[in-house]
């Protein structure tokens, strides 16, 4: 595939053609976030950790800076997912032709 990034080449317009060999040649990337072995397990752990299923039902618990701790736990897990996502995008989303 020609590198179309940072070039003045006009982009084509899809007209309904179906060359599946070309499709998969383009679609499969050497490096992408989902191919990192730690990416999905870490993501799932953070998602499960954000839900307070392991706490006692009906309890408020300690309050820290205005919120109960279980709410802060969820917020921190969300921050963890944001960091994971940003790392995945910035470090592991690479194109063969990516000049950056």
């Amino acid at each position: 595939m020609k590198n179309r990034d940072n070039s003045d080449l006009p982009l084509p317009e899809y007209k309904g053609e179906r060359d599946m060999k070309a499709f998969w040649q383009v679609a499969i990337l050497k490096k992408e976030p989902s191919k990192q072995k730690w990416f999905l397990p870490t993501l799932i752990i953070l998602i499960i950790g954000s839900v307070p299923w392991y706490r006692v039902e009906g309890e408020m618990g300690n309050v820290l800076f205005g919120f109960p701790v279980w709410i802060w736990t969820s917020i921190i897990c969300s921050l963890g997912v944001a960091i994971l996502t940003a790392i995945g995008i910035l470090r592991f989303w690479r194109d063969d032709d990516d000049v950056s």
């Binding site: 990034d5 990337l29 307070p52 800076f65 940003a86």
Partner: protein, 501 residues
């Protein structure tokens, strides 16, 4: 609590008029800058957006009037458990980071204009393309409807009732149609950039209000904890609540990540680098947007009691009106928040409308109705369709005012169906064995199950807080069936192209 009477004079009307004139001027600038009369130029801005415009247009599109109004209202009704909103907004970007790399590369190589270009290219099924376009347009039309309702509330609030609900909706829609028709995606993205900046200001001011007014968050939590009727909103939920929590996460992370107007912004990026930087930044935006809406709704629990679901959707406005009679600085800040709110609503509405226009024109009209149409014909058809659709939706907005409906209900109807598209991207881009027939069966069965369960919940057949069986959303049940059919189909009846190698 404020009784709704306050005097801002004519200043907010002047501020609104200046904002709307700037939007029209930008629309004109977009038209002047257009390079050719083509679908790519009109619907994707010629795929030329750099980091500044791309980030702000993605930001302004993702965060709508619903974030400021609907999310805060939901936090008010639900309490602490609505902290889930922060996670699902982050996860939307995470899911995009999984399928986005492949879709972006394909879009550059083959020149996709709409998500359905990819769908037909990958699966070669006319039925699948049409059904996906219908589901996406259905979702987007509901999305626009929800924004129009928010427009009416916002303009009523900003003008202190001088401009009534429906006049406000019509005024904003006319301005939006003018700039969108003039320059298409280029105008929409440039206005989004201004609207995105206003949104940043708006949320910063809300942060200031949250931290300073009436003792801020700690005082609010103390008040809620001391009130027997409200203290359960601070408590850890039971198993029913936990199931609803996971259900909401699944519905939103898979549903909101396939919004076609967001996908089309990938296609508008000038380069991979600009797209990557924009998406990485967006992953952190929920902490200055969704989280603030959550905190605002949470604090409102301590200040307003017994608001109906309809009233609670306006809790942001009630909070602002409650402090508007403070000093002059606060009054001006509140006016800026109102304009930011209108900007947020307009930026999402115009993007969704443009996306519907592009799909109806490119994927339906140009393929099945008039294959010989020139680019000019297609552009004209898209614009006329957009005007007719928005006129219909404005009429629907008027109807919705006659029957009280919560904004959240409208969002649900949109996402429950739209989420059924997710395997098309999340399986279709990774699994060569998956055939068009399998995915078509999955999407149709998933949608049918969703519809049946949704109607059942609405009629009260399942006694789980208005939700489907076990308190899990109808769309999530449909999605489970959808993925199961796709996986079984892929394993036992692989794609013919894959078998031939």
């Amino acid at each position: 609590m404020n009784d709704g009477t306050y005097e801002l004079g004519i200043a907010p009307i002047i501020m609104l008029a200046i904002y709307l004139l700037v939007m029209i001027a930008i629309g004109w600038a977009g038209k002047v800058s257009s390079k050719e009369n083509s679908l790519r130029d009109f619907y994707l801005g010629g795929s030329s957006f750099g980091i500044f415009v791309l980030f702000l247009t993605l930001f302004a599109t993702q965060y709508s009037g619903n974030t400021m109004l609907g999310f805060a209202g939901r936090a008010y009704r639900q309490g602490g458990t609505y902290v889930v909103s922060i996670m699902f907004m982050v996860l939307t970007i995470t899911v995009i980071s999984i399928y986005g790399p492949r879709l972006f590369r394909l879009s550059r190589a083959f020149g996709y204009i709409t998500p359905a270009d990819y769908i037909y290219h990958r699966f070669g099924s006319h039925w699948l393309r049409v059904i996906c376009v219908i589901l996406l347009c259905w979702g987007l039309a509901n999305y626009i409807l929800e924004q129009l309702v928010a427009m009416g509330h916002a303009i009523e609030g900003l003008s202190g009732g001088r401009i009534d609900f429906m006049s406000g909706v019509v005024l904003l829609v006319i301005v939006m149609l003018i700039y969108e028709t003039l320059g298409g995606m280029r105008s929409v993205a440039w206005t989004d950039a201004i609207q995105g900046i206003l949104l940043f200001f708006g949320f910063s001011i809300i942060l200031y209000i949250v931290l300073t007014v009436n003792g801020g968050l700690p005082a609010a939590t103390e008040l809620i904890a001391s009130n027997q009727n409200q203290s359960e909103k601070l408590a850890v939920p039971g198993w029913e609540g936990i199931r609803a929590w996971f259900s909401t996460l699944l519905l939103l992370m898979f549903g909101a990540s396939v919004y076609p107007h967001a996908i089309q912004r990938f296609f508008s990026a000038r380069s991979l680098r600009t797209l990557r930087l924009s998406l990485a930044g967006l992953a952190f935006m929920p902490f200055i947007t969704t989280m603030l809406a959550f905190v605002l709704g949470f604090i409102a629990i301590s200040q307003f009691t017994d608001l109906s679901p309809f009233e609670s959707d306006q809790v942001t406005l009630l909070m602002l009106l409650d402090i508007i009679n403070g000093n002059d600085l606060i009054r001006w800040l509140v006016m800026v928040v109102f304009v930011a709110l209108i900007a947020a609503i307009m930026s999402t509405t115009d993007s969704a409308l443009l996306s519907i226009q592009s799909m109806v024109t490119k994927d339906i009209y140009a393929v099945y109705i008039n294959p010989e149409a020139s680019q000019q014909d297609l552009l004209r058809t898209g614009k006329i369709f957009g005007w007719v659709l928005i006129a219909f939706l404005v009429a629907m907005t008027w109807v919705s005012q006659q029957t009280e409906s919560s904004i959240w209900l409208l969002i649900k109807l949109k996402l429950e169906f739209m989420v059924q598209i997710s395997p098309v991207f999340l399986l279709g881009l990774f699994w060569q064995r998956l055939s068009g027939t399998s995915i078509l069966c999955g999407v149709v069965v998933g949608t049918a199950i969703t519809l049946v369960l949704w109607v059942g919940a609405a009629l009260g057949y399942w006694d789980a807080g208005g939700r489907s069986p076990l308190g899990i959303s109808a769309g999530v049940w449909g999605l489970a069936a959808n993925y199961t059919i796709c996986i079984v189909g892929g394993v036992f009846w692989p794609d013919g192209e894959f078998v031939r190698g």
